[in-house]
Point group: C2
Chain length 117, copies 2
């Protein structure tokens, strides 16, 4: 059995070196990927789209997306942990808003591209 990772047979040493030199840190790439992963789920994408329009509480989001508030709450927890959404409490109701204009920009750009606007 042979080692299938091209450790010996490098085809374009020059280009590899060039790419390696310009590659951002591993940690940075992992962080960026982590953010994209959060945007890579339909439920979370819908939540972000809705919050881009207006502030909403968990129950509103659940009604809008026709899902349980538990499911919504779980997803909001992930978005919160990344600082993508922010919340404010009004009694027992918790209102969520977007808290990362950078992410909002990404979504807008993508949406614009998808709908060819």
């Amino acid at each position: 059995m042979m080692q299938d990772s091209c450790q010996v047979t490098v085809i374009n040493e020059q280009r590899i070196a060039q790419a390696r030199a310009q590659m951002p840190d591993e940690a940075v790439l992992v962080e960026v990927a982590e953010t994209f992963k959060l945007l890579g789920d339909p439920t979370r994408m819908k939540i972000l789209q809705a919050l881009a329009v207006t502030e909403l509480c968990v129950c509103d989001l659940a009604a809008l997306l026709e899902m349980t508030s538990s499911a919504i709450s779980h997803q909001l927890r992930l978005l919160r942990a990344r600082g993508i959404v922010r919340f404010r409490k009004a009694g027992k109701i918790v209102y969520y808003t977007l808290d990362d204009s950078h992410v909002q920009t990404l979504v807008e750009v993508s949406l614009c591209h998808e709908t060819e606007c």
Copy 2:
């Protein structure tokens, strides 16, 4: 046991209607999420970063990322299916390049934000 989906207890009917009216089609949101999901993996993110620098063959990418070419090939297949990368054959070697400036923009914006450039 009660129905936990807020179908009855709507808090802000007005806002829900407003959000619903401005929400893009379900299908569009799913598509956008699907693209983000592809960007949401460290391996694929590294591949895209490398290809943003220069054209590389599978073996080069494997060497650069220190992974098997099988693993790389599997990921390239997904990126190809979305039209994010393109390939050209040179004998038995297959060279890959980026094929979606929109995605490239997304990654650049994110990277720029992450590194506070």
